[in-house]
Amino acid sequence: MGNPCAVIGIGQTHYTTRRRDVSIAGLVREAALRALQDADLTWKDIDAVVIGKAPDLFEGVMMPEAYLADALGAAGKPMMRVHTAGSVGGSTALVGASLIQGGVHDRVLVVAFEKQSESNATWALSTHLPFSASLVVGAGGYFAPHIREYLRRSGAPAHIGHLVAVKDRRNALKNPYAHLRIPGIDQKMVESTPMLWEPIRYLDTCPSSDGACAMVLSAGDKVTGSTPAWVLGTAMRSEPIFRAGRDTVNPQGGKDCAADVYRQAGITDPRREIDVAEVYVPFSWYEPMWLENLGFAAEGEGWKLTESGATALDGDIPWNASGGVLSSNPIGASGLIRFAEAALQVRGMAGEHQVDGARRALGHAYGGGAQFFAMWMVGSDRP
C-alpha cells in the first residue's frame, strides 16, 4: 500500500471546557510542539502540514488554515485543510499518511483542533434555519432515534449505555489529558443525571472541549524519535445522508471501511487479532453498535460484549482505554485523538492507560449522519 508510513510523534493538549490562556493559534501550536518534541524534530524537518477541524462556524473563522499557517510553521510549505464532519480528525491523519505513502513527502505534520469555547456549537450545528424547521436539537437529537432502533432490534437491556459511560470515564482518570475526570463515577451516578434525548442521559454524552492533537508522520526510511507506530491499513468511506433504505444503525460505509482496513492489515478476526481499539463513541450506546459494525461481534450481540467486560481496560479487547470521546471531545480533533491514542498504544507509550503488550490497534472516526468513516490500523511491527 504505497511507501511505508510511521507515526513518530504525538502531541496533545489537556482537554478542557475553556482554554482562556491561549488563542486558537496557541492551542494548535502547543500540540504541534509536543509532537515535534516526541519525534525529536524541529519545524524545519517538516515538509507539509495538514490541518483538520469541524465546521468553520464553530469558531467563526472562515478557512482558518490561512490564519494558522504561521503558528504551525507552515510558511513556505504546502498546507491543506480537511473537513469531513466528525470524522475529520481521522481523515486528516489519512491525508497526511497519503502524502507519505504516495511518495510526495518524507515528513508531514497533521493537526486537528476545536476551541468550542469561542463559539456556540449548538447554534453552529442548527442547520437550515430559518427556512426549514429542524426536528432535532444537536447531535444527540439526531442520533437518539438510531440508538432506540438499536435497542429495539437487539433487545439490549437499558443499562448497557451506562456501563460504557462508567467504563470510559474510569479509563479517563488514568489519562492526564482527559477532560472529564469524575472520581467515584458509577452506574448510579449516570442514572441519576437528566435524560437529554431518550435513552441518552447527561452522562451518556460527550462533553464540549477545547483542545488540539498533532502527529508527525514519517516515511519508513526517515524515522526519528523513539518507537514508531507503523501504519498497516487506511480507509475512508462515505455514504449519502438521505438515501432511502440506508441502515443508520449499522451503516454499510462503516462495515466497508473496516473490511478495507482489515484486508490491508491482514486481519481476519478483529476481536482476536486487534489488541486495543480507539473508537469514536460520542454517545455511550455507540460502543455496542460499533462493536457490531466493526465486526467485533455479530449483529445484535455487541451489547453482550460490553456487558461481559470484554471492552474494559482489563478485558480481552479494550475499547477507548484513553477515556474516548465520552471523556474529551474537541470535535474536529476527536478523530485524530483516536488515531493518535491507537498509535500510542502500539508504541507502548500510553502511560497508565497502556494495554499490556498491545501490538495492533484500530483508530476509528465517524461523522455526519453516521455516514462518513475514517479508520486506520497501526502496529508495532514494520509491515
Partner: protein, 339 residues
C-alpha cells in the same frame, strides 16, 4: 511519480445572480457530464472542495454528496478549500498505486451572501477580523504595493471580459468604462464578479487515462505553498509562494502555451505572471479567468480544468493551471500539464 492525467472537465454555465438552484442542483450537471465524457460511473477516490461560510450553514458538502450518489459507499474526502486542493488530494491519493481514477468537484454560490464581508472572517480572529478589513480593501493594499499602471490593469480587464463573452460558461460583462474607485486603486471592474457555479474533473492514472481519452492532460508537476498570514509579513508586490510552487511544479522546464491564473483582482494577474515568469507569448486566461466568472471554491479547479481542456482538445501541448487561497494571494497551487 506515477503518471496521472486530467481526462475530463465540465463546468456549469455560471451565473451572476441566484437562480434558485441549491448547491446539489449546481453540482449534478457537471458531475453527469464528466461521467459521460469518460464512461466511468464509479471512481477509486472522490474529493470535493467547498466552504460552509458561503452557504451560511455547516456541512454544506453533505448535501452535495447526496447529489453525487455515494452508493454503495465510496472512498471520499473533502477539503474546506478551493477544489483545486481537492484535485491535489486526489492526485496524492492516486500516487499510492492502488486506485486508478478519481472524481473531483467543487461548488460555491456567492450570490446569497456578502462575499466581501464573509471573506473578512478569514482574517486573524483576534486582531485583524475585528478591524473589518474586508477582502477588497486588503486586495487594494496589495494593488497599491504592486504599483501596476492603470492602463495595464484596464487592458487585463478588457482582455478577460472579451474572452469571457465568447466563453459560454462565463458571464457576459461589458468592457470597463470609467467607473469610480471601489477601494482605491481598484475600480469595480478590477474585482472578480459575484458568481455561482460548480465544476468537475476526472483524473486517471497510466493506461486508464490513455484508454479514456485521446489526449490526456498529463500532470507533470503540481505543488503548492502557503505564506505568512499577516499582510505586513509579506512583500505584497510579489508572490513568493506562487514563485516557489511554480519552481517546484517545473513551470520553467518548457514553453507554456496557456496559463489559467486564479487572479480575482486585475493586479493579481500582474503579480502572478511575474511569479510564474510567464513570457509574453503565453496566452493568459483565454477563458476569461476569474474576472469573467468567479464561482468561489470552484474557480481554482476551473483554472486547472480550462488549462487541461486545451490539451484534451489538442490545441496546446503544455499548459499551467493556478489556484489561490487566503487574503492577498497567501496560498498558491500550480499545476503543469503536458500532452
Amino acid at each position: 511519480m506515477r503518471e496521472v492525467a486530467v481526462v475530463a472537465f465540465a463546468q456549469t454555465r455560471h451565473s451572476a445572480t441566484d437562480e434558485g438552484q441549491s448547491d446539489s442542483e449546481l453540482v449534478m450537471p457537471p458531475l453527469e457530464e464528466v461521467r459521460e465524457q469518460t464512461g466511468l460511473r464509479t471512481f477509486g477516490f472522490t474529493c470535493s472542495g467547498s466552504c460552509d461560510y458561503l452557504a451560511g450553514t455547516p456541512f454544506s458538502f453533505v448535501s452535495a454528496l447526496d447529489a453525487l450518489g455515494a452508493w454503495p459507499p465510496i472512498s471520499e474526502s473533502h477539503v474546506e478549500m478551493d477544489a483545486a486542493w481537492a484535485l491535489y488530494e486526489a492526485w496524492v491519493r492516486l500516487q499510492h498505486g492502488d486506485v486508478d481514477s478519481a472524481l473531483v468537484y467543487g461548488f460555491g454560490k456567492s450570490s446569497p451572501g456578502d462575499l466581501r464581508e464573509i471573506m473578512t472572517l478569514q482574517l486573524d480572529p483576534y486582531y485583524l477580523a475585528p478591524l473589518g478589513l474586508d477582502q477588497v480593501s486588503a486586495a487594494a493594499l496589495q494593488a497599491s504595493a504592486a504599483g501596476a499602471g492603470r492602463a495595464e490593469l484596464d487592458e487585463i480587464v478588457r482582455r478577460s471580459r472579451a474572452a469571457g463573452r465568447v466563453n459560454p460558461y462565463a458571464l457576459d460583462l461589458p468592457d470597463p468604462d470609467g467607473e469610480a474607485f471601489e477601494v482605491e486603486p481598484l475600480r469595480p471592474y478590477d474585482i472578480a464578479p459575484i458568481t455561482d457555479g460548480a465544476a468537475a474533473v476526472v483524473l486517471a492514472a497510466g493506461d486508464l487515462a490513455r484508454e479514456l481519452c485521446e489526449h490526456p492532460a498529463w500532470i507533470t508537476g503540481i505543488a503548492h505553498r502557503i505564506e505568512p498570514h499577516y499582510p505586513g509579513m509579506r512583500d505584497l508586490a510579489r508572490s513568493a509562494s506562487a514563485a516557489e510552487a511554480a519552481r517546484a511544479a517545473g513551470v520553467d522546464k518548457g514553453h507554456v502555451d496557456v496559463a489559467e491564473l486564479h487572479a480575482q483582482f486585475s493586479h493579481e494577474e500582474v503579480i502572478l505572471r511575474r511569479a510564474l515568469a510567464l513570457p509574453e507569448t503565453t496566452a493568459v486566461n483565454p477563458s476569461g479567468g476569474p474576472l469573467a466568472a468567479n464561482p468561489v471554491m470552484a474557480t481554482g479547479l476551473i483554472r486547472i480544468g480550462e488549462a487541461a481542456r486545451r490539451i484534451l482538445d489538442g490545441t496546446a501541448s503544455r499548459t499551467v493551471g493556478h489556484a489561490s487561497s487566503g487574503p492577498c494571494l497567501q496560498h498558491n497551487l500550480v499545476t503543469v500539464m503536458e500532452a
